[in-house]
Amino acid sequence: MIQVEKLTKSYGNYQALKEITFSVEKGEILGFLGPNGAGKTTTMRILTCFFPATSGKATVAGFDVFEEPHEVRKRIGYLPESVPLYRDMVVTDYLSFVAGIKGVAGREVKKRVDVVMDECGLTHMSHKLISELSKGYRQRVGLAQALVNEPEVLILDEPTAGLDPKQIIDIRKLIKGLAGKRTIILSTHILPEVSMTCQRVIIINEGKVIAVDTPQNLTSNIQGAGRIAVKVDGPWQEVVKGLSGISGISRVDRKEGGSGISEFIIDTAKGLDVRKDIAPLIVKNGWGLLELKPVEMSLEDIFVKLVTKE
């Protein structure tokens, strides 16, 4: 649905994008992850034909962004990061204006506007001025204007920035509900958002793609070795000795310990599950097994690891 090849964008001497290449399948939600200034917004602006790239090629729904911008624009819904809206307009008037300009047929406009207002939970705000709305509702209006022409592709730049936790959950649910029907690119620097909503993640930093994968694969690949946390009630020196004896365990670390109860972090070789060996050992020695769980690297850890490695 979206093909990006060797996209480069320079502002004077500064290269915001350096030969970015990726593609998005139809119906997929792609997370665009990166620190501030990584090039997320620049990529989105190129895909929405707001400005062209310095070099490279990008197609959306089969149309070249540089050759046929008009065709591309008809097929996308875009929500810029700052959610720029005409604040002196009433919600319905604004959405009708956008629907008209995006080519929704005259008699369809009212119906489409009602549908998106319902989808975005705006119906009870329909006659309010946009300037009177709270940030969360303005975000919904922004999303509604992107959706109003039923675009094949949605490009959302940090759609949950600045919202309260309840609103974030609502917006995420809304975006997830659109998956399958539409292709979505979503940028963010909030990691849990990506693991919750996206099927695939692209991590970019300083204008370069540094990883493309599913959130799950990213977690397991980067992690390399496995890691297990155990909480045991027993003499810790003996426990360490016992655990170190199990084959496949490369390192045992005592994290903390009070009177008898200690927590240990165990590093194991990749792809080896030693949990079934640990439990009998502890039981056999008469210690108390209080907790045994695998430690997964969060996307935060991976992100920091990837970005700092650069």
């Binding site: 320079s10 502002y11 004077g12 602006r45 929405t48 034909c49 707001f50 400005f51 062209p52 310095t54 008009h70 624009r73 008809k74 996308i76 875009y78 810029p80 700052s82 720029p84 809206l85 005409y86 604040r87 002196d88 307009m89 008037d93 204006f97 956008v98 008209g100 300009i101 995006k102 080519g103 204007q145």
Partner: protein, 259 residues
């Protein structure tokens, strides 16, 4: 065509949903009304004096209401337009640039030309309404005196063309900056220079002098106010408007190649 209409309607809506249009129109009418009152009152005093003083009565030109009231009135209205039109045009692109709405607008399936013309005609409509309200002055003249109809009508044609020229320049300066004050200052400054160019002709040779007169904005209203429709004047305004609309289009396109 539909996009053009939708944009024009939206722009008109924002002129009248904020106090901008009301304030500008009101001030325009107050100032032009004040000028009209002065012209008309001095003309009536002059007429009274002429009834007792044959020296004045012999100056036929002075006692012609078209010459002493209508013509200067059009000159005065054009001066007030110079002050007020930049205030109408300054927000057209600057505001969208500042608030970021231009990013959404230009990623909708509209052409730059549709956007510019939509804004141009919305502003022109506000201007025409403003000008229409000044029609009360000539109506009063027709009630109390007998001015010629021709110069009044052609004078208005001249003002409409001049207003459209002012608007095209105002849209251009508005597209250059996201600061409305800079946009207004630029368009006022440039318009004022165009207006005042005629002043320096005495310092120049005949060829350059004639050129300056032709470029100067004010010279082209004279004919209309006298009741003459000269194709040269119409071409002047048409070229002026086309030039600045074209330049605005280039400014919008420049985001495509500017780094």
């Amino acid at each position: 065509m539909r996009n053009f209409y939708l944009i024009a309607r939206k722009e008109l809506h924002s002129y009248f949903s904020s106090p901008v249009a009301y304030v500008v129109i009101t001030m325009f009418l107050v100032i032009t009304g004040y000028f009209f009152y002065n012209l008309f009152a001095s003309f009536s005093i002059l007429s009274f004096q002429a009834s007792t003083n044959p020296a004045i009565a012999n100056q036929k030109n002075l006692l012609n209401i078209t010459e002493t009231v209508v013509r200067p009135l059009f000159g005065n209205i054009s001066m007030i337009m110079l002050l007020m039109v930049p205030l109408l045009t300054m927000r057209l692109f600057s505001e969208e640039k500042k608030s970021g709405t231009i990013e959404l607008l230009l990623t909708y399936p509209v052409t730059d030309m549709e956007v510019i013309l939509g804004k141009f005609f919305a502003c022109l409509t506000v201007f025409l309404l403003m000008l229409l309200l000044t029609a009360t002055y000539p109506v009063l003249l027709f009630v109390f005196g007998e001015p010629e109809v021709g110069p009044v009508l052609t004078g208005y044609v001249g003002l409409v063309l001049m207003g459209a020229a002012f608007i095209s320049l105002g849209i251009f300066t508005s597209s250059l900056t996201e600061n409305q004050i800079i946009a207004a200052t630029l368009s006022f400054g440039i318009l004022f220079l165009f207006f005042m160019m005629g002043y320096s002709i005495s310092l120049m040779g005949p060829i350059l002098g004639n050129l300056m007169i032709y470029i100067s904005l004010i010279g082209h209203l004279e004919g209309f106010a006298k009741g003459v429709i000269d194709t040269m004047d119409i071409i002047y305004y048409a070229v002026f408007i086309t030039l600045f609309i074209f330049l605005t289009l280039r400014v919008l396109e420049s985001k495509k190649w500017r780094g």
